[in-house]
Amino acid sequence: MLFKQMMEYVGLEPDRLQIRWISGSEGAKVGEVAREMTERIRALGPNMKMRDVK
């Protein structure tokens, strides 16, 4: 949460960082969370701020 707030502070979308607690026995949840995260990131679009402008 601290890191998210830091990201927000310097002007990054905090949604780019997501942390989930998944136990070793929750295989299905991994896929589910990955799908969900991918969608959220896709919605945000590419991270232009961290792209090297060369």
Binding site: M1, L2, M6, V10, Q18, W21
Partner: protein, 328 residues
């Protein structure tokens, strides 16, 4: 001021003469009238060169790390803010308490070199410093220079939390009034940035980070940065092989990563001594970054400024079921 210096020198002589410590780390005369320099005395005779006053901004706690793997006992001079760094190093087991003698000095605020240097006549030699309560007077061979404390101190001093050391084996002087401004709010500047909209925040920091030279001065002066080998210069970091994140390349994203990683790494360790901001050659307001982590750690975990005591654990090194989270 004079009495404090005499006490310091006397104690340094005693420690060295009795072989209680191998070296005393303190302040010595600088090469111009606006500053001092870290000074290391290994003999009682060398102790005569110790000085103290409002030109001693350096946090000497960092120098202890150079001797952490030796078995010598050292003494170090600390101000209130610096002393929090001592506590943090002790807590992180970076330096053993039994090998350390802490010499505390009462601090009435440090003069901002950027503000006073232009007022000092070129070539003036410092002869002494007087503290009249509201004003520091630099006595030089080119006249007496008055610097009212309400205008010429370092910004951090007006927000001072502890102007007397929180840890000391020896105090070189009686308590003096804190330079903190009444009703000052340590989060005020952070709040201002937070109040900006996301685009404005982003461009504010882009502007600051684009100036960064990546000289590592902020890291190297930082008492919270105690790693023997920094993540930014590991011999073969896996993630460096497929990109230049964390490399020596200077670009806005690189610089931002450097500062974000540093910001995260010093949470719970940053004692807000302000050395990073003082040494930055391109004036990046680094304390605005670390103050933000202090504020958030306080709000989220109720954490106070690190280093106030060795009893309180850092918020990121202990777990409580009450900790706020959004990932379970």
């Amino acid at each position: 001021m004079k009495a404090v210096i005499d006490n310091l020198r006397r104690e340094a002589v005693r420690l060295l003469a009795n072989d209680e410590v191998k070296m005393v780390i303190g302040y010595g005369e600088g090469t111009d009238a606006s500053r001092t320099t870290p000074y290391f005395a290994s003999t009682p005779e060398q102790s005569a060169a110790f000085t103290w006053g409002p030109l001693c901004a350096n946090n000497l706690a960092k120098h202890l790390l150079d001797y952490r793997y030796e078995d010598t006992r050292l003494a170090v001079v600390v101000k209130g803010c610096d002393s929090r760094g001592i506590n943090r190093l002790l807590q992180d087991l970076q330096f053993p308490r039994e090998r350390l003698v802490v010499l505390g000095v009462p601090c009435g605020g440090q003069l901002d070199r950027n503000l006073i240097a232009p007022e000092i006549p070129p070539g003036a030699r410092l002869q002494g410093i007087e503290d009249t309560g509201k004003v520091y007077v630099l006595v030089t061979d080119k006249g007496r220079l008055s610097f009212p404390k309400d205008r010429f101190l370092m910004p951090k001093c007006y927000l001072c939390e502890t102007n007397m050391p929180v840890v000391a084996d020896f105090m070189a002087g009686d308590p003096v009034p804190s330079p903190a401004r009444e009703g000052s709010d340590r989060t005020a500047e952070v709040n201002e940035i937070e109040a900006l909209d996301v685009a404005a925040r982003s461009s504010f920091w882009d502007n600051e980070f684009s100036r960064c030279l990546r000289c590592n001065a902020c890291r190297n002066v930082c008492p919270a940065c105690s790693c023997k080998e920094c993540v930014f210069e590991q011999a073969v970091p896996g993630w460096q092989q497929s990109g230049i994140i964390g490399s020596k390349a200077n670009s806005l994203p690189e610089n931002m990563v450097f500062h974000l990683v540093r910001m995260f790494h010093v949470i719970g360790r940053c004692v807000d001594c302000g050395e990073c901001e003082r040494v930055c050659p391109v004036d990046i307001p680094l304390r605005l970054l670390y103050r933000k982590t202090l504020k958030d750690a306080h709000i989220l975990y109720g954490a106070g400024t690190p280093g106030m005591s060795t009893e309180v654990q850092s918020p990121l090194s202990e777990f409580s079921p009450e900790d706020p989270e959004e990932f379970m």
